[in-house]
């Protein structure tokens, strides 16, 4: 299956040299190498699925998707954007997964008169005062992830908690976001280092602090190691854990197995959300790629659907204002359901409780529960003059 998508990307590159047509070129800058590569892979595959379903079009406009790996290096993302702006005359960009790449790349695109639609990263740097009418975030503002976890902890009635995150800005933001909605007492904040692989020392500290529950945010492999060691230390059966979506998504659950069972998470999307668009998406994704979609795949797909909504009004000429009016209308059925853009062009959407359960085939799967937050916006929109 991987070869198919490779061939697709290859074919689009080939097509680019041969046609000088009325196609709209979409620059998909994403992370495909490094440990974070699977996020970009899934976002890309979800995006391409939407394009595929429309027979190479989005919103009735023929599109051509250029894909390139930014290697999680900010300078590379910017370099690719410059290259495509210049030599391919690309005007519409998407795909970026990580905030640091986004922060380096987005200004270049916007200054050149381009449009950027983020399928994942929603850094606070661009969601407040620096918001821009050609910059859209279709996933979430970064803080939303942790705000929803905080709201869940509050809903579950936890009063005294220990919070853990790596000692870097995204980690600190996670803790700030969590506290914004949690409201209870934080007994201790434990900061880990970013290259840490063994958390025994921190877990002993948690055991000694005897909290009602813990909240932890660790990206990628660290999160996986944390969940495995948490289960092994026996704390899983003593202290409940609340996490945000990046710590409890499909691939993470698949790679930790039983260690995920019982952990409370939140997400704006899950494979079992009952709306029709989602049912169709999951079925089509599995049929095409022979694997279950992740939340990143759903975000790639939704980003494509929203872009389609913009292209419907702008047409092939891709006038930025016409595109904007279409985008903001959200003339699309998103797989996450309820969605609209806030004034800062970030989502207003619902957040659900998520938990890992044993599926019928013995595999651990994610199951969505009640809404934790309804029509949730972000805290930065009020600073945006749009």
């Amino acid at each position: 299956m991987r070869f198919k998508s490779l061939a697709l990307a290859g074919a689009s590159l080939l097509a680019l040299t041969m046609t000088a047509s009325a196609q709209v070129k979409i620059g998909f800058i994403t992370t495909l190498s490094t440990p974070g590569g699977y996020l970009g892979e899934d976002a890309r595959d979800g995006f391409l699925l939407a394009v595929n379903e429309e027979g190479g079009k989005l919103g009735g406009v023929p599109v051509q998707v250029l894909v390139e790996d930014d290697q999680l290096k900010p300078a590379n993302g910017k370099q690719i954007a410059e290259k495509w702006l210049e030599s391919e005359k690309v005007k519409l960009f998407t795909g970026v997964i990580f905030s640091n790449v986004s922060i380096a790349t987005v200004p270049t695109i916007l200054e050149a008169g381009g449009i950027f639609v983020s399928p994942n990263a929603g850094p606070s740097a661009f969601s407040g005062k620096a918001c821009n009418k050609n910059y859209y975030v279709t996933s979430w503002q970064n803080d939303n992830l942790h705000e929803s976890a905080g709201a869940l902890a509050k809903k579950l009635g936890y009063k005294r908690m220990v919070l853990l995150a790596p000692n870097y800005p995204a980690g600190k933001d996670a803790i700030i976001g969590f506290k914004r909605t949690f409201g209870g007492e934080v007994i201790e904040e434990i900061y880990t280092s970013l290259d840490q692989t063994d958390f025994a020392a921190e877990m002993a500290r948690v055991r000694a602090a005897k909290p009602d529950a813990v909240f932890q945010f660790h990206p990628g492999g660290q999160g996986i190691a944390f969940l495995k060691q948490w289960a092994q230390s026996g704390l899983k059966d003593q202290v409940p854990m609340v996490v945000a979506s990046p710590s409890l998504e499909q691939k993470i659950v698949a790679s930790v197995g039983d260690a995920a069972i019982g952990i409370a998470g939140t997400s704006h999307w899950n494979g079992d959300l009952p709306n029709e668009a989602n049912k169709a998406f999951v079925k089509a994704f599995v049929a095409k790629y022979n694997r279950e979609p992740t939340v990143y795949a759903s975000q790639g797909y939704d980003a494509a659907k929203l872009i389609a909504s913009g292209l419907k009004t702008s047409g092939e000429k891709l006038d930025a204002d016409a595109f904007r009016s279409g985008m903001l209308k959200v003339d699309a059925k998103l797989v996450r359901g309820n969605f609209k853009f806030n004034n800062n062009q970030h989502p207003i959407q619902d957040w659900y409780e998520i938990k890992a359960v044993k599926g019928t085939d013995g595999k651990v799967v994610l199951q969505s529960g009640a809404k934790v937050l309804e029509n949730h916006a972000d805290a930065y929109a009020k600073d945006c003059a749009l």
């Binding site: 490779l6 300078a75 290259k83 640091n100 200004p107 800005p169």
Partner: protein, 320 residues
């Protein structure tokens, strides 16, 4: 030596031609790409001073590159957005910020070098790597200056009060600075300093017996190389108007080493060639296949195994 000079002129002419070719093709991206080559070439030349001429395989050179970038970005941030660092309000003037970047990188090189040069061989490789990694994590965690997200500059530095907005003028600045660096390093190598450094690579004991304080000479070389890398970092931050921790990462250090060896260590101009070939090859491969590493990795291995003299060895022929 004559031939070396001829090749130097040839290479210089090639670099001078780039903006004109790009202009004729109407392709400014080419200039940006070439600027990137110039900046990496500068780092590679400075690294070669240690690796090729001094026999000191530093695996942490990116640390000084990154520091230089951060100095410029931090100074610009305070100059445009207020605030201060150690009571200093920052600057957007290249004539202050760039030398400062060199100074800070040189200072860090002095401390790291003083400790690392007490060791040698494989210890030196690993300890420079470890120190660079430590600095990397410091910047990742540094929330005031963006941490992991990096630090943006609203505009490029001013050069003596003048704006450097277009790609072409910035390219010329980088080219002139690279030429100056190459000329300086070349002179240094032919002066007594260079002779001692090269002598110590061949036989540390002999140089010590001749009464030269080898440690001190090496430390000076380490500091000079650090300062040049700092300048390159300042230019890099200006090119992208952005400094990020990935500038200091150990992968970056590895890439600089690859450039040096690919081009040919201890050849002064080899690293320039190495930087050009490395960057062009990497971007071309990455643009054509997402699995570029599967091709690029073995190419690097082959270069290590079968090109001990690097590309420069082939260009120069076997005459020397």
């Amino acid at each position: 030596m004559m031939r070396q000079r001829g090749l130097f002129v040839l290479l210089l002419l090639a670099f001078i031609a780039v903006p004109f070719i790009a202009g004729a093709l109407g392709n400014t991206y080419m200039i940006t790409m070439a600027t990137r080559v110039l900046i990496c070439a500068m780092v590679a030349v400075s690294l070669d001073l240690l690796v090729g001429w001094g026999g000191l395989v530093s695996f942490g050179h990116a640390a000084f590159f990154g520091l230089g970038g951060y100095v410029v970005a931090i100074a610009a941030t305070h100059a445009t957005q207020g605030g201060d660092i150690f009571g200093w309000g920052g600057t957007n003037e290249a004539l202050i910020a760039w030398p400062l970047a060199m100074l800070v990188s040189a200072g860090a090189a002095l401390v790291i070098g003083a400790l690392s040069l007490r060791t040698s061989g494989v210890y030196f490789i690993m300890i420079t790597l470890a120190f660079a990694q430590m600095l990397y994590f410091v910047f990742v965690a540094l929330k005031v200056y963006g941490g992991d997200d990096g630090l943006s500059m609203t505009s490029r530095n001013l050069l003596a009060g003048a704006r450097i907005t277009d790609a072409r003028s910035f390219y010329w600045i980088c080219l002139i600075l690279l030429a100056v660096v190459v000329a300086l390093v070349g002179r240094l190598l032919n002066a007594r300093f260079g002779l001692v450094l090269r002598g110590a690579k061949a036989s540390e004991r002999r140089m010590a017996a001749l009464g030269f304080p080898v440690y001190r000479y090496r430390l000076v070389a380490f500091v000079i190389a650090g300062a040049i890398a700092g300048l390159a970092g300042a230019l890099w931050a200006n090119l992208g108007r952005f400094a990020a921790p990935d500038m200091l990462s150990w992968l970056r250090s590895g890439e600089f080493l690859v450039m040096v060896i690919l081009g040919g260590s201890a050849s002064l101009l080899g690293p320039v060639l190495g930087a050009a070939v490395f960057l062009i090859l990497e971007t071309q491969l990455a643009a054509h296949t997402e699995h570029w590493q599967v091709i690029f990795g073995p190419l690097v291995v082959l270069a290590a195994l079968y090109m001990p003299m690097g590309l420069w060895g082939y260009v120069r022929g076997r005459s020397s």
